[in-house]
Symmetry: C2
Subunit: 375 residues, 2 copies
């Protein structure tokens, strides 16, 4: 089995992740932050260490790390937790439905309007287009850092500067970049950073987070027990508990900590391997006349989108799976406006996404399989 | 270490739960319902089997089982996903903040009003009080099945009949009863049933669910990718995907399935053990003059609340933990109105909660420890 669907979920985790999960399950599987006994305190302490691990990765404070069920909930919280009645948000055509459907919902409710910025023919964005779209009631920019379809990196440094200049909230979806890019929230002027635990940070699915800048006035979108101020039936406002109602997913959080720790230790090695394999794949796909490559040749971020002439993306995906045991993803991958831009809204694309544990010979097997579709 | 905090989280899970988690992590840790390749299909199939397992437990259809991050999210979804502008909801004084804070939030937003029904001196409710509270704009009753503070069982059969008679939604929080009581959604007229995965169903924390009756018109409260209708940036409406935006917590869901399966197989044995130990504990506490017992003597549902004269609940909890390595919980346990009723709003109570793996000699040790506080 050759697994090349790592932008959905990284299949293999470091051994330290499996160990951490089993240790949590067997040694301190209590309810963190609820009781005062040793096991609950231990669970709470391990969760705090995970907060610190994540905070350090993005240059934030541990208290500003809110754990959620995943990047989707994080983006819901970021956008809906700062919604301004009558306001306007700017976003890009590369966004995932975890952003677009939230914006559309708020628009349907009559709360906000939003503008979707289109890329240039190159696939990259012109930052001036974002700046031109700013209206008097614009209060936020929401973009992903790396496109989950094309692997194209957004210029979040440039956008952060625009946001700062115009006093806008700057919300960044790092679902595909956390663990792959150095992201300093302070230097990049990021107001809120949403991340997934189960992709580049090598944890299990079931956890993600939102890292919040101190200046952001965030409102909760989920209400319930926080283990604090229990006598008050108004939701508390303290970071991070106010946004973490209910029992936290202990094993997922400890898996995230172990995964993030591994990524930090091997950051260069992991990402130079991914870059190398991405470049190798792109270079070889470019040489094949029956391949329509959508990812720009200079975009080497582990995610590569293409189609095979005369085949639907689904057909190719099925063939790769059934005949060669190669796992890739096909379709729209939850980001419809990219496909409007690419002209692939009907069948989508084939998306290959690479992790550090993939091997060159696996890419070779994929390339060989694709060659058989030449006729 | 003697763990008696099982109403927070059951500490020990069946071996089958640990095996299922490790199998999922090591064998098919892909993204369910997103890709078409074998590993994603396998993950999706395992999640479907968990849906079936839960559906069977509550006499529902698999498609009507919505997985959430926990019982708190389930209750948020149930209450906010059916909110009626200008409507009125009836609830009880025994509710957890996962219900009360949701209702208070909706009241603060000017959307609903709600009435909190108080128990009688016995600790039990008079169903007539619920019926009397019904107004013209009342559209829902929300209650827990077993109080997380007192262990008292609510008469959900009677309440279900009232709800049916008055055409009200009937929302039941089974956080403390799932796995312990037979709950047939159809027979009990339950419109929506919220459950936690990490308590009586013996799964890991990080998963829960909402089981929905076909007649309920539920609206999503979280928006994003569902792996379906991706071309449309309006949230889909199909059960269950429309309510499960984002990647599902695979290992948590397989743990829930294994745990639920174990509970079904050993239902009688598990619960007669819990009943026996609860009764044994209550009978002995009743004999101690320095104990103020809040749980009625005939309430043998694994949860027992009390205080020790001249000590705060926190002091006793700390002493049990430090001196005897006994883990119990103290405080309000996120249910403030119970404590207004008990007169314990300042320090709360000591809560002992029992699982099937607890032993009589552990209860004896607790009783001996409590005896030392007599003077």
């Amino acid at each position: 089995m050759i697994y090349l669907d790592n932008a959905s979920t990284t299949l293999k985790k470091p051994l330290s992740v499996y160990f951490a999960v089993n240790k949590a399950m067997l040694k301190y599987n209590a309810n963190a932050g609820r009781s005062g006994h040793s096991l609950s305190v231990k669970a709470g302490f391990e969760i705090y260490k995970a907060r610190q691990e994540i905070a350090e990765l993005f240059n934030a404070s541990a208290e500003n790390v809110i754990f959620t069920s995943g990047c989707t909930e994080s983006l819901n919280l970021a956008i809906r937790g700062t919604v301004k009645q009558g306001g306007h948000i700017i976003t890009s055509a590369y966004e995932h439905n975890s952003v677009l459907r939230v914006l559309k919902h708020l628009e349907n409710e009559g709360k906000i309007s939003f503008t979707i910025i289109s890329p240039k023919k190159s696939g990259y964005f012109d930052l001036k287009d974002f700046e031109k779209a700013i209206k008097q009631n614009t209060y936020a920019i929401v973009v992903n850092h790396i496109s989950n379809v094309l692997g194209i990196e957004q210029d979040i440094k440039g956008l952060g500067e625009i946001a700062k200049r115009h006093n806008l909230l700057f919300i960044v979806d790092t679902a595909q970049s956390a663990g792959h890019k150095n992201i300093d929230m302070q230097k990049l002027n990021i107001s809120m950073l949403a991340f997934a635990g189960h992709k580049g940070l090598l944890g299990l699915s079931g956890v993600g987070g939102l890292v919040v800048n101190d200046k952001v006035q965030l409102q909760p979108i989920k209400f319930g027990g926080t283990g604090t101020s229990s006598e008050d039936i108004n939701q508390p406002t303290t970071l991070p508990e106010a946004f973490e109602s209910g029992t936290l997913p202990l094993v997922n959080i400890v898996s995230l900590r172990a995964g993030t720790n591994f990524v930090k230790k091997h950051f260069k090695k992991i990402n130079s391997k991914i870059d190398y394999l991405t470049k190798y794949l792109i270079d070889n796909l470019t040489k094949m006349e029956h391949i329509i490559l959508y990812t720009p040749q200079n975009s080497i971020n582990g995610v590569v989108a293409f189609n095979v002439k005369n085949y639907s993306a689904g057909q190719v995906c099925d063939m790769l799976n059934e005949k060669y045991k190669i796992c890739v993803r096909s379709g729209l991958t939850c980001a419809p406006y990219v496909h409007r831009f690419l002209g692939t809204i009907n069948g989508g694309v084939i998306r290959v996404s690479i992790a550090h544990y993939n091997k060159k010979h696996q890419i070779d097997k994929l390339l060989s399989a694709l060659k058989t579709l030449k006729e």
